[in-house]
């Protein structure tokens, strides 16, 4: 649920990029930061390991303007994708308003996508949240690798694997090139709006 500060009239929307290790979660944020920084005017914070992997999380906050008398602030987080950092993932998921699941389209990591989605499902359950009710967008990343002759899972296969039950919006993407990165972000923010509006109304009534 979005955090509303009645004193400062600020609303914070927390979006978490989730998915298997090396899937492109950080690359999504890096692209957003490098391409739109002149408009969002923010700083990205990253904590990485020796091998350039996300250790704790990446964080990119920005304002999107004033609506209904409140300043809307969006906070983008990534989680470390490596299996061993599950406690960190769980902490980052706390109070999440929307999730982008960044799946890796490479055939060789098919199972990692499934395991990571299952892990998201379980971690959300720990907060009494259902993966079927949280605003969620699937992003099938690394589609550009087809040009390099790398065997990829087709969009249909990925849909069947990951989205048969969820039935949420999904985008084929290339975070490295920026293809559908902004679209994914816009979609997930839009999906958080109905609940945000409800909460804002309650706030006004109170």
């Amino acid at each position: 649920m979005a955090f509303i500060n009645p004193k400062t009239k600020e609303v914070q929307i927390k979006i978490v990029y989730y998915g298997p290790g090396r899937g492109g979660k950080t690359t999504n944020l890096e692209y957003i930061y490098s391409k739109f920084n002149h408009r969002i005017k923010s700083e990205m914070v990253s904590l990485k390991t020796h091998g350039d992997r996300t250790l704790f999380f990446d964080f990119l906050p920005f304002d999107i303007g004033k609506v209904m008398g409140h300043t809307l602030k969006v906070q983008l987080y990534t989680v470390p994708g490596q299996v061993k950092y599950n406690a960190t993932r769980r902490v980052v998921l706390r109070g999440v308003d929307g999730i982008v699941f960044v799946a890796d389209s490479m055939k060789v990591v098919r199972e990692k996508n499934l395991l990571s989605l299952k892990n998201l499902h379980e971690n959300l359950k720990d907060y009494n949240r259902s993966i079927f009710r949280v605003p969620l967008v699937l992003q099938y990343n690394k589609m550009d690798l087809a040009e390099q002759g790398i065997p990829l899972l087709s969009y249909e296969r990925l849909e069947k694997d990951l989205n048969t039950q969820l039935k949420v919006p999904s985008f084929p993407a290339s975070a490295l090139r920026g293809t559908n990165v902004a679209k994914t972000l816009k979609k997930i923010i839009s999906m958080t709006l109905p609940s945000l509006q409800r909460n804002l109304k309650k706030e006004v009534v109170n």
Binding site: L55, T88, R90, Q148, L176, K186
Partner: protein, 217 residues
């Protein structure tokens, strides 16, 4: 009421459209750098991209082979050869240390590759630009080397001589964290435990590295 809801959503969506409109030249730059136009580098590029997902002996071996092959073909070129030599050395460092390689090593490797791609493209830059590019890469490469040495020395001064233990993967040694209690405090403690475990493993591996350097000296 429904109209109000629509207005709210529409307003935010229109702000988002403005904020994230992709109509400036940045998109071109990204596309351009990802463009594979020069055939001799096609395989090397695929390998450089592979390094981004998984650093394995197989990938790094393939990378070194391709660099060696290109070195033979460009022995006379005063810009391409040094770039390839630096690519090879950086690749060797990553091959040896894999995920524990210096954090900027991958960035330096990618930057070297992109410069190589520019120099070898059909629309190659002028000689002056080539030299400028080369010097820039040499500076980055030297800085990386200095950082690696500096990091090792700093650690050697900090860490007391200790019996070197065999490194074991974090997954195997990680303490079992109880998460049955869903309280935030426990979750944060578990995250800190992961972090602590990671730092300990990094230090252990660096100790081994120092020890092996001492032995070989």
């Amino acid at each position: 009421m429904e109209k109000n809801e629509n207005t709210f959503t529409e307003k935010v969506e229109s702000i988002l459209d403005e904020l994230f409109a992709e109509d400036d030249e940045t998109a071109e730059t990204v596309e351009e750098s990802a463009h594979v136009g020069y055939y001799p580098l096609r395989f090397l590029k695929a390998t450089v991209l592979s390094i981004d997902w998984e650093i394995t002996d197989e990938v790094m071996g393939r990378f070194i082979d391709q660099v060696e092959r290109l070195k033979e073909a460009h022995q006379e070129d005063k810009t391409i050869l040094p770039l390839l030599q630096m690519l090879g050395s950086t690749g060797q460092h990553i091959r040896i240390f894999k995920e524990n390689a210096h954090p900027t090593a991958l960035k330096v490797l990618k930057s070297l590759y992109l410069s190589l791609e520019k120099v070898m493209s059909e629309t190659a830059p002028s000689e002056v630009e080539k030299s400028r590019l080369l010097f820039r890469e040499i500076r980055k490469f030297k800085a990386l080397k200095a950082q690696i040495v500096e990091g090792n020395l700093a650690l050697a001064n900090r860490v007391k001589p200790a019996v070197v233990q065999a490194a074991s993967p974090v997954e195997e040694t990680a303490p079992v964290v109880t998460t049955s209690d869903d309280g935030d405090g426990n979750a944060i403690l578990a995250a800190i435990a992961e972090l602590k475990q990671f730092v300990e493993t990094e230090i252990r591996q660096l100790r081994e590295e120092i020890q092996s350097l001492r032995t070989s000296a």
